[in-house]
Symmetry: D4
Subunit: 208 residues, 8 copies
């Protein structure tokens, strides 16, 4: 993990005890520590030991933030709706805690293009765009056709039938006919938020 | 094959002799016969035996048309560009020979949405829309979000990398978040044209 | 969603509260709203807030219908039996609520062809045929060989072994040697019913 | 290889010299030797050394038959048409050379059921039925629903698009809702003919 | 289902009520009815209505047998051990109820070849051999190399890792270098028993 | 394509005539046009019409550059060796023509880590890193563990056996345990170069 | 199982009773018996019958060791961390019980190379190295590039998204550009430990 | 590459010039250099520059050997026959040039077990066994059940139908029910020979 960046625990597949112990250890030398893929139950247990821990329920992230975050620049996180929301929020909260201003545009989907087109100016003022999409995964291509910004596409496992747990959306995004789109693993909002923040901060650090 | 419909030969995997013989036999009792997936070489050989055969080179279709076709209604065939053109033309020529007026809208792709939006009225006046798309296969979802018509989506094997010979586009189309889209096999322009024409004629036959 | 068409909520992956809230909002400006993939438990909760909601248990659909539906034309929904029934009913109820007369032919399977052949006249009087099939997914090809109507094929995830959650049936339907068959996503009875109804109404609206 | 059975060479992936040498060696102690997957070019070369070799061109089989074959019982080989023919013939010739009477029923396909139904009596008088089918692979299920005989299904790689070189037909056949169908590898007409003959001879050897 | 054969209910995916009702109906005109994939709980409920029902627990089959079965010939069912046993028993009980003598050879696996070789004579006196195998699915090839009988191979979903729910064993069996092996669907002991019995009875019916 | 960016033609799947015509048209209003996936034969033909076209043979890119490019910042392109070179060069030349300084680090592979470690300072002075890798695709994870820069990973189809045309490398990169890595399609050096340049220019444009 | 080697029971898919019975039987003639994939619940039941059984909880192995094990040579087991630990421990305990000294190096991952490089001397003094890795499965390639020892790579199913239950790591390891790496099945720590021990003992038995 | 080991060039995907240049460079400081996957044409060209190069045609390996090789110990290479031979020879020649005695056992296949059993003593006197197999890939399991030696399994792409270029054999080998078998990539005889030699030399170096 980069210097100045918070430490991160991936909770999935770890016991409650393991997460709490790792968190306590990391807090000895870090001012910001987060645990991703954390359930509310985990949070409640952990809070007994670390009372200043806070919980972002949509993002399923526990955070302990013992220093101020000065947010810079702007990252847009776009998705179509309810079902992609946990992944979008994981990306958004990650980027915020790591130091980026985030604008959420969650009411846009391929089936109702005008809502996307109405908000294009919000995209223009950002440095990076994260697009989260499940099912046919068409949203990043559509956004990429309208906006000349680096796009990080996050396929989600949302869907059913021949969706194959996100494979359909993943392939769509990799095969986009629009250049300038890069893809992270299925449901990996964390990695998208991490990368978007890194790019955003690089741009802003040079701004005078 | 339905009464009143032309007979169809699928040339792929047949020898030149086989196609010519089948064609000659079918012409004994049919006024319209077509051969799909036909090369120009096949056409030149066949023409020696059937001089009134004509060739649609982009569609790779040989047709013998010994009666007038009164075209009715309208089918739109849309695709993004050069590479999907053979499949789009196979669909378009099939629908035309079977009795439909066809409007081609070939200059539209997800990467340049305005060109699609500029031509929406052409879609409104049709009975069925065929959308041909390779790579990420997003076009049918976008068209389906804008136009309330039955949509037949044709994935093409155009692309490379993790495209897997059209699988990426096929999965996108099956997983579309827009209802009212049905899908035919990869590159199967013929089946799309056949089905679109059938729906178009049903609608028109009832029109007074 | 098309004007005049009911609004639709996809319940799967949404909490009870989310579905109820969306339903209440939609009912402010819509006379027909349905929720698909809805459990009986969801229905019982929702009924406390919306007492005129009704439940189609085989189709797993909740409907609130505050205007009369004048059904037109005819859509046939065919399947082999018990296991494909939920998907077939989802298609049938969807088409009915959207405005189509539906004839169910549920006692036909590839293993007992005569039952299908005995009822061919029911198919002849329809405008569109929906064929639902799992396992080897052969039924749409067989129906398509006997009846010259637009066929919407719905693969189901019914089966086991090398069925791969409906992939076997999906591939069969896409590869049908019979033209005029288009396919929707695995288990997607809703989309099939939606499309069939759209085609059926187009045909009927022109009938005088 | 079973006693009394001919020796078999699988030519694919062997050089002309290798096949000729193996054939010459086997003929020292065998009266019937066949080479499958053999091109006409291979046959012409081989004939210079083994002048009594004969060639079954549709089946792509070279045979040297230095004893009389007394054919018994009956195996039916059924398929839909032109494209599946080489595989069907490989099965038929194999079964004939090994000692079975074979009845070919090659004009039957799912898209034209009546042709199948018209010939049911031919199936009734057989001991085993081989059904060869590509594309959606529905034919074995349909035959199995009509005829109570052991069925050996052979998927072929015939098709295109989402056919995946015969995978679609293979999965269909494995997932058949009709019991009593067993499947051999894609395009493996030889193995089907071999097994059908074995069953046929077992039945006949007991007949008095 | 063939005349003289018992009726069969596939219980998986059916409610207890559905199975009992179908069973009661079938018993009105049938003397032998079986239900496969039946849990012990289902059996206990069903027994209240049909007291002469019996349960084969390893095979998970409920049977009502109101006539004597005169078993003929011999079918061998071979497998490696504990984990493949339910599938092997489904095959064995099916064949027995349908009219075959069955010899079980369950102590043989590829990792201990001598146990197989020690029992070869048991195979020689049979008409058909069913080989059930999971994991690498090598047993049918090994048996097929030693015994010249029709072999029906049943892949099981037993295993883990890159087993992919039986796909590994299925592919092994389809690709066997030994001819005369045909394959049924993963875990489909019923279909194997059904087919083996059909072949066995055909052979025996001709024996004098 | 973004304003100020060169126009790009994807030559693969287009005829020589098509590429030349498109190029001639684009040059009417653009000062920089490039054609990717271009063979030397295509270049020679095209040069007859456009004599100032130049050819980058390793990158398989034709370029017409009628204005000066002022390169800014730095993009690193890293790969292991000979076989990944065409893809790496496609990325590098794309980024250069679009306005980035590019440093190539082509002598690094997972099998010889010290060569990578010896050149770490070259990475530190860059804004973005492109890592091209085939076979097991491990290089981006290793680079990402050593350098805190945005990484664009490009899987290549180089390899054989269970490589599945680049799928192995693609999956490795998507599943990297190192955050901050985003992936483009297999062999898509162009898209990687395009995105890297976009990020690089954004950073530099803000630098004072 | 080799003479002198302990007997092994694979508990997964067996009932508690079955495991206990097999264990009791094996103990009649064996001094060392182990059961892999054993839960703590199973251990507690089994202990009532076999009080000297011990449980390795991380490895999920029950062992009854009624003779001294003289450990020889050295096997290294390396992995990245918490999540791969159960598989690594299954390998380590297996090798130890079978007669090898094992050194665990569990704090090394591709994302923090220096920890691996700091411990290279531990690898130099071993005869075989087992490398356990999930996600992108890069660790065996990196270790193999640094150390000239036989490497047994164990992919784990740890990960999510496009990990496909360990397929990603499996393919990476098979496609390693470093020679001298062989791979066992996903999560198969037992087989890796068994093979490593066999090689280690062969080397040591010859040492004087 | 390990000290004392020959240098290796992987010719596939390299031009003749590239291979010759690399070879000439490596020979400046190495006494043994080999090029794998080399055609006879490549050898003839290379010989003009390096007259002491020799060619192993079955193994497709060019070798320049300017020092004596003292072969030690024994590696067995086993396969079924003609088609797997190139891969088996690549393994055998690699191990020989690297310093191992190799015994080839090429006349053994699962379909004729006795030929394998007749030669068991040849396996007993070896340190490592390489088993090469295509199609169903059963041979390593059978060998592993008979012989307690480390086994390196090499799946080959030999086969057709549902073989999927060696995937069938690869999965069989990974899922072997016999422990002590490790697998290399499809067709990778080189890697198997390299690893077998490494193990063999380790064992022998300790022998006194
Ligand atoms: N939600 C997430 N999705 C994917 N990777 C994550 C996530 N959260 C954390 N990680 C990665 O997991 C690492 C921590 O893993 P661990 O040491 O197992 O807690 C972090 O450095 C991240 O690279
Ligand atoms: N057309 C075929 N398809 C599949 N397997 C075949 C075919 N012809 C022969 N075989 C098998 O290949 C064996 C001979 O292989 P070989 O020794 O390589 O010639 C025969 O015993 C058959 O089992
Ligand atoms: N265990 C089984 N595995 C596969 N198919 C079965 C099994 N048991 C019954 N069947 C098939 O399912 C049919 C009955 O299905 P159903 O009408 O749904 O009860 C029977 O005729 C058999 O073809
Ligand atoms: N036949 C082969 N199969 C697989 N890998 C090979 C083969 N021959 C050589 N290699 C590997 O390729 C490396 C050399 O690759 P290169 O530098 O591209 O010539 C060697 O060190 C081996 O690891
Ligand atoms: Mg979406
Ligand atoms: Mg497209
Ligand atoms: Mg069906
Ligand atoms: Mg067919
Ligand atoms: Mg087995
Ligand atoms: Mg690499
Ligand atoms: Mg790892
Ligand atoms: Mg083999």
């Amino acid at each position: 993990v980069i210097k100045g960046f918070p430490e991160v625990i991936f909770s999935q597949g770890k016991t409650t005890d393991q997460v709490i112990n790792i968190m306590l250890n990391l807090l000895k030398i870090n001012k910001r520590v987060i645990a991703t893929r954390a359930s509310f139950e985990l949070y409640e247990k952990l809070k007994e030991y670390i009372p200043d821990a806070i919980y972002f329920d949509k993002a399923r992230i526990i955070a302990v933030l013992r220093e101020d975050i000065k947010k810079k620049g702007k990252v847009v996180v776009a998705c179509a709706g309810t079902a992609d929301l946990p992944v979008a929020e994981e990306a958004a909260i990650t980027a915020e805690i790591m130091g980026s201003n985030v604008e959420r545009i969650y009411d846009v989907g391929v089936a109702g293009l005008h809502r996307l087109i109405d908000q294009l100016d919000k995209f223009y003022s950002s440095n990076v765009v994260i697009v989260v999409a499940g099912m046919e995964g068409a949203l990043p291509s559509v956004v990429g056709g309208l906006i000349a910004k680096p796009i990080i596409a996050v396929p989600t496992s949302v869907g059913y039938g021949a969706n194959f747990n996100g494979l359909s959306a993943l392939l769509s995004m990799l095969n986009s006919c629009v250049p300038g789109i890069a893809v992270v693993n299925i449901d990996n909002g964390f990695s998208a938020g991490y990368l978007a923040n890194m790019i955003n901060l690089m741009v802003e650090e040079n701004r005078k």
